[in-house]
Amino acid sequence: MISLENLRRYPFFGELTHAQLISIASISSVETYPAGTTLFQKDQPANTLYFLETGSVDLFYPLLVKADQNDLGEIALNEVNPGDPFGIGSIIEPYIYPATARTAKSSQVIKIEAIPLRALFEADKRLAYLFTRLATKTAVELLDAARVQLAAAIA
């Protein structure tokens, strides 16, 4: 469990009631990772929602594998900045991460366990709406970043 103050630093959590904040805090933890740590990989089951507290996290998309070449690297999609959520696949069906996340420098994150979070959604539709709206906004921003990359690649 983390303190409510940890959550209150983020504008998003300002929309939640005291009771909702306590519920979220009870399924959250704070962790610090060194630079270069992979937090999750594309296509993994998405069981954690993250908020970046300090540091920097990059999102990548692994390239297709050609028959004659095993590792084609990855495309840098977007940079997560402090205060931003990531790992939003954890609250959008089918609950799979669409990209890989790796720390660009030493980073502190809030981790929210997504399975109990989704259970909270069943009992509290207002909470569910607020989180899903946040996830949709973040997904749209990632989609825009991917479009910019696509334009650059084919222009």
Partner: protein
């Protein structure tokens, strides 16, 4: 207001109960758009959320090169098929379209007044959640498709032809 039957025709709305269907119908309008006409442009204010009833819509963005207007390009990066939602920025602050939408052929649309829809969300949490959940799934699907296009262009640049990448001067 649109007929209730039109709301019932859109698969996206399958989660609505009869009262919610009526509420959505009350804040919606029907619109016919000729082939080639813009429905909304990139960077325009997003006041309406759209659903395609029939026809096809291209989603596109433009590339401008400073001091070289002749190098202006439109890139069609996706299409909307009947039953799908588009114009999601109507529900997301600052409510400005990040890309444009143009009728690829004659289209029949439903457009929903976004301000009144957001007001409904304040009164009905179940509607708000179910609606946003459906929208998030649509966006996630588009994100995955765009990422696959991007990976394909990077991996096989010599082909440079992937679904929905119709570049037009």
């Amino acid at each position: 207001m649109i007929p209730l039957e039109l709301v019932q025709k859109i698969r996206f709305f399958s989660f609505l109960n009869p009262d919610q269907q009526k509420s959505i119908a009350e804040i919606s309008e029907e619109k016919q758009v000729e082939a080639g006409a813009m429905i909304y442009k990139e960077k325009e204010r997003a006041d309406w959320l759209y659903f395609l009833v029939s026809g096809n819509v291209d989603r596109l963005f433009t590339i401008e090169v400073e001091f070289h207007p002749e190098q202006h390009k439109e890139i069609v990066y996706g299409e909307v098929i009947p039953g799908e939602m588009f114009g999601i920025y109507a529900l997301i602050e600052p409510r400005i379209h990040s890309s444009g939408a143009r009728a690829a052929k004659h289209c029949e649309l439903i457009k929903i007044d976004a301000v009144r829809l957001l007001e409904l969300f304040e009164k009905d949490d179940q509607l708000a959640y179910d609606f946003m959940k459906q929208a998030s799934k649509t966006i996630e699907k588009r994100l995955n498709m765009t990422l696959e296009q991007l990976a394909s262009v990077w991996t096989y640049p010599q082909d440079n032809v992937v679904p929905f990448n119709k570049e037009r001067e």
